[in-house]
Symmetry: C2
Subunit: 223 residues, 2 copies
Amino acid sequence: MEFQVKFDINEKIFLRNPESSEVGKLMVKKSIDLIYDLGFEQFTFKKLALEINSTEATIYRYFENKHRLLLYILNWYWCYMEFLVTFKLENVVDKKERLKIIVHLLTHEFAESTNQFDYNKKLLNQIVIAESSKVYLVKEVTEINKNEVFKPYKDLCGKIAEVISAYNSKYKYPRSLSTTLIETSHHQQYFSVNLPKLTDVSSKNNSEFTNQFIEDFLFKILD
Amino acid sequence: MEFQVKFDINEKIFLRNPESSEVGKLMVKKSIDLIYDLGFEQFTFKKLALEINSTEATIYRYFENKHRLLLYILNWYWCYMEFLVTFKLENVVDKKERLKIIVHLLTHEFAESTNQFDYNKKLLNQIVIAESSKVYLVKEVTEINKNEVFKPYKDLCGKIAEVISAYNSKYKYPRSLSTTLIETSHHQQYFSVNLPKLTDVSSKNNSEFTNQFIEDFLFKILD
DNA sequence: TATTTATAATAGTATTACTATCATTAAAAA
DNA sequence: TTTTTAATGATAGTAATACTATTATAAATA
């Protein structure tokens, strides 16, 4: 069984809903490939337009700028991640097991879907690791936060915080720990590949390393 | 007693050593003010040139681009931080106390120096929190890492890792924990001010909050 | 005094990050 | 079926960015 999930992305993020047209869908899908290939700094609407055989003007009708497009992609990711967490935790009663599942989700690549219209989840994952902080580490953060564009991140954080609190109700910082889990899993994955001396990774499987590091530290904190 | 510290910054980072001339020193000092004011994305050499009554061309003789200038500033910061850690740990024998001093340093603003030629440490601190990840979260990271431009960060990480290992020699991930301390202190400070719902901060003093969160989590991991 | 070196002043280019206009086409409404 | 509308593509244009190059001048050094 294959299935696709759709999310209602906050309308403040786009000028026109990319889900409402073929070019729109294509530009989001291709932007994931292109941001992965070029990095966010080198990524431009001109290059994306070329890639989808369209024009800059068309893309500008959907997104105010490339920062908004990245925000759109990340909103989709955060929604997807919350969905995945909910899905994978279904019927799992053991509270420790629930946390382990979350850590595994945060530290491993997504399964690639066979559906050609789906986003490439492997690349999406890499974009989240390398580029996600660039959407909030900007001067205008307070201004753009007013439109609730970070709600899916906060919701994901809230959901993980609940599982943390269910495991140990006395722990005082469930939300901070939750964001730390998320951000640290990105950092450690990035560092273990690109700047390994900043980690304790030993050669091989860095997803597995990150998983172990985070699981170890999570249960030491909560037990 | 007032004193100034100088560091030998890796020569691969600049084209001409900004320490070797007055304009050079001025451009680094002013760039800290300007990056703080505008954010790294809006910061340009043109604006900096205007600020120091010089020209773009002059700045380009010192730094290849603004990314390199940021890297220079962060190298200075990492060196300074390692110096501060060394200085503050001098004669402190108690291993727990040594870790507490490090966490305090990572989570609190620097004292502002009265010397007008010094960098503004308060702003520098804010730049490190909001902009530092932008120097390594780039496509060319492997290429630029070859010139050892991240050595001061790795050294700082190594120094903290030593203190961690001295406290608990059995802990398996001293380096990863060390980078996690550093990066998490940035995140939590940034989030507690700008996106507080991603944390457990309660109104007031966010430096104190971050300090408590990190200290709590550090000793739960190591004890 | 001659020579080197750094800087300021100036000019110029390619690219980026947009905005605006208009003709064409496809879809929706009348 | 015709009319209206909405979206797109094609094209043009602008201000700002991220540079590179040239030259005159001033300061430092030999």
